[in-house]
């Protein structure tokens, strides 16, 4: 989003613990929340504004209380775009569209509800790791394979990140190329599986 410079402001609101654990127990005091927000801003070197919601999540709940949403709010204070599961390339396009229409109005259909699992699986682990072992055990029990998937995705990050954590959307040409590459891969794999084993092949006449 650095691309947009000062033409858009980014603001994070710290909400409840999503995946509590021994080192990150459910908040009981506002001071714990403030401390985590400070840690988040300092440890991750977050350059933009970080706010702290109250203990009962009043602002979070007023905005729907999803786990990881982003709203794009126009200069009149209205919702221009609601990205229910934060996805940077989607937001990139939304911001671009909003700036192109003078900072006002609804853009790109207004809502994106897709969960964008690929991005979550690539970068979800660092947050989950803070609450180990309980955070991963709880998540794995509630949504089987999701904690394992997040761990695996994080290990494969060098491979996946250029694709799943990109800032800009893929161009149609890049999408077509990826699709073609996947199709070729599937075909090659199928040929290998379906080819008869050499010792079972008929003897040449």
């Amino acid at each position: 989003m650095a691309h947009f410079g000062a033409r858009v402001q980014m603001v994070d609101v710290l909400v409840r613990q999503g995946h509590p654990g021994p080192a990150v127990p459910a908040y009981e005091h506002q001071t714990q929340k403030l401390a985590d927000a400070r840690r988040y801003k300092e440890d991750d070197g977050v350059p933009w504004t970080v706010l702290v919601d109250d203990l009962r999540g009043t602002v979070h709940q007023a905005y729907g209380a999803l786990a990881d949403p982003t709203y794009l709010i126009d200069v009149d204070g209205r919702v221009a775009f609601y990205n229910m599961w934060t996805h940077v390339p989607t937001l990139f396009e939304a911001v671009e569209a909003l700036l192109a229409q003078g900072g006002r109005g609804v853009v790109r259909g207004g809502v994106d509800r897709r969960p964008h699992f690929a991005a979550t699986l690539t970068n979800g682990w660092p947050a989950l790791r803070r609450g180990l072992p309980q955070s991963a055990a709880d998540l794995e029990t509630s949504v089987p394979l999701s904690a394992t998937g997040a761990w695996l995705g994080y290990q494969l990050r060098p491979l996946l990140a250029p694709l799943t954590l990109r800032e800009r959307p893929l161009s149609p040409a890049a999408k077509a190329a990826l699709g073609a590459a996947a199709a070729v891969g599937v075909l090659l794999a199928a040929r290998r599986v379906l080819r008869p084993a050499p010792d079972l092949a008929p003897e040449p006449a």
Binding site: Q17, E28, L34, L51, L66, G77, V79, G110, A127, L128
Partner: protein
Amino acid sequence: MADRTAQHGDEARDARGARPEAAERFAALERPLDAERYNYAHFRVRHAASEARKTVRRAGVPPGERAPDFELPRVGGGTWRLAQQLNPPVLLRFGSYS
């Protein structure tokens, strides 16, 4: 929780429409949680299900509507109020430390 969903799931989907009774129940489902229930100690199936339900139902502020104003403390000191910070446009993200 699961029962209520099964019973009212379909009604809730079009509760913003013409059926006042369903709308009332829908509003009740949206009642804010108290601090204890909001800050759960364990992530459970019901929390995962609630995320899925909220996604399907488009919980949150619909596009075109006014974003609720708020003022919250900011890391580094002072407070930040939405209504005073509308230009340039704001990307407002909600997220957890864990």
